[in-house]
Amino acid sequence: MAHSGPMTDWRKAKLPVFAFLAPATILYTLFMIYPLIDSIRLSFYTTPSGGDLTFVGLENYRTILSDPDWAATFWNSFWNNMKFFAVHMLVQNPIGIALAAVLSLPRLKFRNTYRTLIFMPTMLSVVIVGFIWQLILSPVWGVGADILDIVGLKSLFGPWLGKEGSALITLAFISVWQWVGIPMMLIYAALLAIPEDLVDAAIVDGATHFEVFWHIKMPLILPTVAMVSILTFVGNFNAFDLVYAVKGALAGPNFSSDIMGTLFYRTFFGYQLQLGSPTLGATIASLMFLIILAGVLFYLFVVQRRMSRYQL
C-alpha cells in the first residue's frame, strides 16, 4: 500500500480511532469470522440423536471421505464443481477478454451502448436467469428449437437440462451467459489504463490491432486476467442458487448436476428420508473452505509471484 506521507499518530486521537474501527470490526467478526471458525469447530463434533455435542475428532471427515456412499457423493460434487469452473475458464473468460478487446478499439461508435446492453444479464437474479433458460430450453415450449432453426441447427436441439450427460454443462453455459459481463468489465478497465502512446507507436510501426492486442496489451493485463480467474474460482462455490432454482436440492437427474453448494445444503437440512446434520454440514463447509484456501494460496504464492508487473 502506498501511503501519502506519514500518518497521524493514533495516541493523539485514541477515542476517534476506536470509534471509527469498532462498529465495522465487531459486526464483521460476529457475523462472518465467528461463524466461519465456529463451523470449523462444529466439524469435529457430532450430535447423537439430537443430544449434546460430542467431540469426535476427525471422524466426520473420515465418514465423508471414506464411507462408500458419502465419498461417492462428495467426489461427484467436487468434480462437478471443477467441470463447472473449467467451463467458466474456457468459455466465459475468453469471451469476456475478446469483448473487452473489441470494446476498447479506438474510434468505436456506440461503445457505451454495447457495454451497457451486454452487461445487462449480470444484473438479473441468478434464480430468474435459471427460470428464463429453463423455459427457453423446455421441449414443451419448443422455442429453443425454433431459435436453432433460424441458424439451421434444429437437429442439434435436445432436452439438455433433463439429460444426465448434459445437465451440468448446460447449467454452466447458462451461468457463463449471465456472468460474462464481469470479466468483460474488469479487463476493459485494465485495457483503458494502458497509455495510448504505447499503442500508437506500434500502430505507426505498422502493427495491426490484433498484433497490438496480443503482443502489447495482453502481457500488460495478465495480472487482471489472473485476478479474474481466482474470482471465478471462488464464485464457483456460490453457484448453489442456479442449480437449486433449476434442478432443486436433489440436483438431478441422478445427482448429475450436484455441486458442493447443493451437497452442503442437503447435508445440513436433510432431504427425503435422510435427516439433516449440522455437524456433517459444517464438515462439508470446512472442506469447501480448504479447497478455496488452496486455490487462493496457489494464486498468491505461485501465480502472482511469477507474474511480471510493468510499471506504466
Binding site: 493514533w10 457475523f31 462444529l42 468505436l108 457495454r115 445487462m120 415450449w141 489504463a193 471462488v234 456460490n238
Partner: protein, 281 residues
C-alpha cells in the same frame, strides 16, 4: 492507396459491429422473449412463441393470476428495504474503518487491514450452520434484520478495501489545514472526508448491492416464512407452486425483471463507471 485504406477501415468497422451486435442479441434476446410472452394468451405463447403480442394474442391473465396469488408488492418492499439499509450501513461503517486504517498510525494497523480483507475471498455462506444457530439464539430467525446483519458482514470487507485505497488519494493539505484550525477528528471525518469520498460511493454501492438483491441462499435459510420473502425467493416459491401455469410463470418472471431493467437503464452510467474505475485496476 488512400482509398484502399479507407475501405479497409470501413470493412473492419462492419465486422466489429457485427460481432458486437450478435453478442448483444445473445445477451438480450432470452430476456426479451420472456417479457413479450408474458403479455400473451396461452394459445399465443405456444403457437407463436417468437412473435410480438397482437390484438388476438394479447392477454394480461398471467399478471392477474400473479397479483392475485402472490404478494409481490411485499416481496419488493422486503428486497428494497434489506438492500437499502445494508448499503447505507456498509457505506458508513466501511468509510469510518477505511479512514481510520488509512489515516492513523496504530499498532497492528496492517494486521487489522488484512483481517478485514479475509472476507473478500472467503464466501460467508461457509459459515451458514453457525449463522443460523446464532440467529436462533438472538431470536432473529425469519426477520429481515437477520438478512441485513449477514449482508453487512458480507459487504464490509470489499467496501473497506475499496475505500481505503480511495482515501489514500485524499490530499494531505485539506486535513492538515483543518487540524491547524483546531477542528476535532470526528468533525474532520464527517464534514470533510465523508463528502470527499462520494465518487467511490457508486462503486461500493454496486459491489454491495448486486449480490444482496440476487441472493437466494440466505433468504431461503434465514427468512423463508410468509411475508418475509425477498423478491428472488418469492419468485422461486411462486414458480415452484405454479410451474405448469405458463402465463403465471412468465408474468412473475417479467415482474421480477422489469423493475431491475428500468433501474439499470437509469443508473447504468454510474454503475459501469463504478465497475471500471479505481479499485479494480
Amino acid at each position: 492507396m488512400a482509398l484502399n485504406v479507407r475501405k479497409d477501415h470501413a470493412s473492419r468497422a462492419v465486422i466489429v459491429h457485427a460481432v458486437l451486435l450478435s453478442y448483444t442479441l445473445i445477451a438480450l434476446y432470452p430476456v426479451f422473449l420472456i417479457v413479450i410472452n408474458a403479455f400473451k394468451s396461452r394459445k399465443g405463447i405456444f403457437r407463436e412463441p417468437m412473435a410480438l403480442p397482437t390484438t388476438q394474442t394479447f392477454s394480461l391473465s398471467g399478471f392477474e393470476k400473479v397479483l392475485d396469488k402472490a404478494d409481490f408488492g411485499t416481496y419488493f418492499f422486503n428486497s428494497i428495504s434489506v438492500t437499502v439499509v445494508t448499503i447505507v450501513v456498509v457505506l458508513l461503517l466501511a468509510a469510518m474503518a477505511a479512514w481510520a486504517l488509512s489515516e492513523y498510525k496504530f499498532p497492528l494497523n496492517t494486521a487489522l487491514a488484512i483481517y478485514l480483507a479475509i472476507g473478500i475471498m472467503v464466501p460467508i455462506r461457509l459459515g451458514t450452520v453457525s449463522i443460523l444457530s446464532l440467529m436462533v439464539d438472538l431470536g432473529l430467525v425469519n426477520t429481515l434484520t437477520s438478512l441485513v446483519l449477514v449482508y453487512v458482514a458480507q459487504g464490509l470487507p470489499l467496501a473497506i478495501f475499496i475505500l481505503t485505497e480511495f482515501m489514500h488519494q485524499i490530499p494531505k493539505d485539506l486535513k492538515e489545514a483543518a487540524r491547524c484550525d483546531g477542528v476535532g477528528e470526528f468533525k474532520i471525518f464527517f464534514a470533510i472526508i465523508l463528502p470527499l469520498v462520494r465518487p467511490a460511493v457508486a462503486t461500493v454501492a454496486v459491489f454491495t448491492m448486486i449480490p444482496i438483491w440476487n441472493d437466494l441462499w440466505f433468504p431461503l435459510i434465514l427468512a423463508p416464512g410468509d411475508g418475509k420473502q425477498t423478491i428472488t425467493l418469492g419468485v422461486q416459491q411462486f414458480i415452484g407452486q405454479y410451474v405448469t401455469d405458463w402465463n403465471a410463470v412468465l408474468a412473475s418472471l417479467s415482474l421480477a425483471i422489469i423493475p431491475i431493467l428500468i433501474l439499470y437503464l437509469i443508473f447504468s452510467r454510474q454503475l459501469i463507471r463504478g465497475l471500471t474505475s479505481g479499485a479494480v485496476k
